[in-house]
């Protein structure tokens, strides 16, 4: 029996996006023009291949905000962009532009700059656009991104279109003012503070207008949503449908993180965040079928550097002020790096294409009672890139989650190990890193890695997750399928009453 590896196909079987509920069938994809798809597929933030090679950074220049979200404490950065409780160093537009240029000189892989919180970039248009202006001038090859709550987006679209802005991210948590009233206590609008449902209704209207205006101008729009169980979790499927039908290329669902220590409404009233499994199920229903899109890392706004590394500490304001820029030299180095990476990626893609049917994984089902349906299994993979199982369990900052089923292997998304509070003085007796990692793998039955230590091995087994180091350096999809086949032959996959198939539905 041949099992295809499902990549970008619309029909995804168990747990997948049913085309009716989230509107991202092949039809939907066809609405997105080719050049936009191209742009997205080569984008360091969304391409699994590319993002291991490119670096991105965020700067904070725009501290003011014009709305209040119930999960945000304004002592800290915009919670839409960072984990709650993070404080970024506020820069002037001059400092921000210089910092970006310095980083782009020192790290030639630097290719994306985002303007992020604290605050809303479009509530501070002068500072935001002054920064973009300087960068478009001095480093036109760097892609610029702006993230906003959307309130001032319709008014800002013309200005955005003037700059080298690659895409706009809007955080949209609802399209229904009744839901909005439970998320946004107030907005500042036309020189007044407007509370409750009325404020939420204006915000929603502005977000939708802004989204439409960006699409009409050919600006890429990504939509982020914060999943708040019991408030907007079911509603986000509707949000997904609406924003995609208007042309957003990606709808990205993030978990609510609420702790009493953050002092937010949700934190203090005990609103819980979603479990990893709830999150994944909703992401699955909303992310659509475009596998590559699932590689959006919801990157932390406060990190500098390549994926998984943070070199922010190297770039202090003193160092930046003293640094002598060689703009042309740096641009040339970046161009060289980009060409090299492009060539490498091309080569890899060609190699993949040339390999004999690499996407087909044989699963020997002979000797099995194949009449019985096999349940799908989620597996976590530790990888440092290249499509291989090549990372030590203890080194993994994130895991790729795959679902194996009779239909094949499907990539579901990432899970970060540091998503939740990392302890320290603000969090009291928080979990150990290891406990957090195990928690992050909830719902997975197997974790594949190159090596794993004794202690984590025990903890994983206790949590019902089988550690597996037998497939080190093998291709991920082949290995996942091989493990699935083993489980099948061991009779572990037959649907039984006491093993509910969580994701089949």
């Amino acid at each position: 029996m041949e099992l295809p590896v499902i990549s970008n196909t619309a029909e995804s079987g168990g747990g997948g996006c049913s085309s009716h509920s989230c509107g991202s069938t092949a039809d939907q994809l066809n609405q997105i023009p080719d050049e936009i798809l191209q742009k997205v597929f080569n984008h360091p933030c969304y391409s699994e291949d590319a993002h291991h090679h490119f670096a991105r950074m965020h700067v904070a220049v725009a501290p003011a905000c014009n709305i209040q979200c119930h999960y945000c404490n304004r002592k800290y950065d915009c919670a839409n962009e960072s984990r709650p409780g993070v404080v970024s160093e506020l820069l002037t537009p001059d400092q921000a532009a210089k910092k970006t240029l310095v980083v782009a000189s020192e790290i030639p892989q630097m290719s994306v700059l985002g303007i992020a919180g604290p605050g809303d970039p479009l509530a501070n248009p002068e500072r935001t656009f002054a920064t973009f202006q300087m960068l478009s001038e001095h480093a036109p090859d760097i892609k610029l991104c702006v993230s906003t709550n959307g309130l001032m987006l319709p008014q800002s679209v013309d200005e955005i279109a003037k700059h080298n802005i690659d895409h706009v991210t809007i955080t949209i948590n609802c399209v229904d003012p009744d839901v909005g009233a439970k998320i946004y206590p107030w907005i500042f609008w036309n020189n007044k503070r407007i509370k409750g449902r009325e404020g939420a209704a204006i915000l929603i209207e502005q977000q939708q207008k802004g989204l439409e205006a960006c699409i009409a101008k050919g600006i890429l729009v990504k939509v982020n949503s914060v999943m708040i169980p019991g408030v907007n979790d079911e509603h986000l499927k509707e949000v997904s449908r609406v924003v995609k039908s208007k042309g957003a290329f990606l709808h990205n669902v993030m978990p609510l993180i609420a702790e009493a220590e953050h002092g937010t409404f949700y934190g203090l009233t005990g609103q819980r965040g979603p479990t990893q499994d709830e999150l994944q199920a909703l992401q699955d229903a909303c992310a659509g079928d475009m596998n590559m899109m699932r590689h959006c890392r919801q990157c932390r706004a406060d990190a500098v550097g390549l994926l998984g590394e943070d070199r922010g500490a190297e770039f202090t304001l003193d160092k930046i002020a003293e640094y002598e820029l060689d703009l042309e030299g740096a641009a040339a180095r970046r161009a060289e790096v980009r060409d090299r990476i492009a060539a490498e990626l091309e080569e890899k893609r060609n190699a993949k294409a040339a390999a004999p049917a690499p996407k087909l994984v044989a699963l020997d089902m002979s000797g099995l009672a194949t009449k019985e349906a096999l349940r799908p299994v989620k597996m976590a993979v530790a990888t440092s890139g290249g499509g291989l199982i090549n990372q030590h369990f203890g080194h993994a900052k994130e895991f790729l989650i795959y679902e194996a089923s009779e239909k094949g292997v499907r990539f579901l998304g990432h899970r970060k190990t540091d998503l939740y509070c990392t302890g320290g003085d603000t969090c009291g007796d928080a979990d150990t890193t290891l406990q957090q990692t195990v928690k992050a793998l909830e719902g997975c039955e197997v974790v594949l890695c190159s090596k794993i230590g004794y202690e984590p091995w025990g903890m994983l087994e206790e949590a019902g997750i089988a550690p597996n180091g037998e497939h080190a350096m093998e291709g991920i999809e082949d290995a996942v399928m091989a493990v699935y086949a083993e489980m099948a032959s061991a009779g572990k996959l037959v649907e039984t009453a006491e093993v509910p198939a969580q994701s089949a539905a």
Partner: protein, 97 residues
Amino acid sequence: MALEINDLCVNCWACEPLCPNKAIYSAAPHFEIDPDKCTECAGDFADAQCAAICPIEGAIVDELGDALNPPGSLTGIPLQLLAEAAGSAAGTAAKTS
């Protein structure tokens, strides 16, 4: 007639650009209002602009020291929870939740 910013201010800059009289300026440890310039927005806006956007309850007060945005008025957090949170922050590292 003038408003005042106190040490609850988190220096978020939201109020500064809105003042019709340029009365608000960035200072350490927090933003300040120049009492000679502040008119409480009389004649310009129906609501005092700084107080209409300030996200922090209690940070902006009038001449009597009364908060324009009293506790709970912006966040919607019940007063009892606010008091508990303040209590546990003020106390030792003892965790209540």
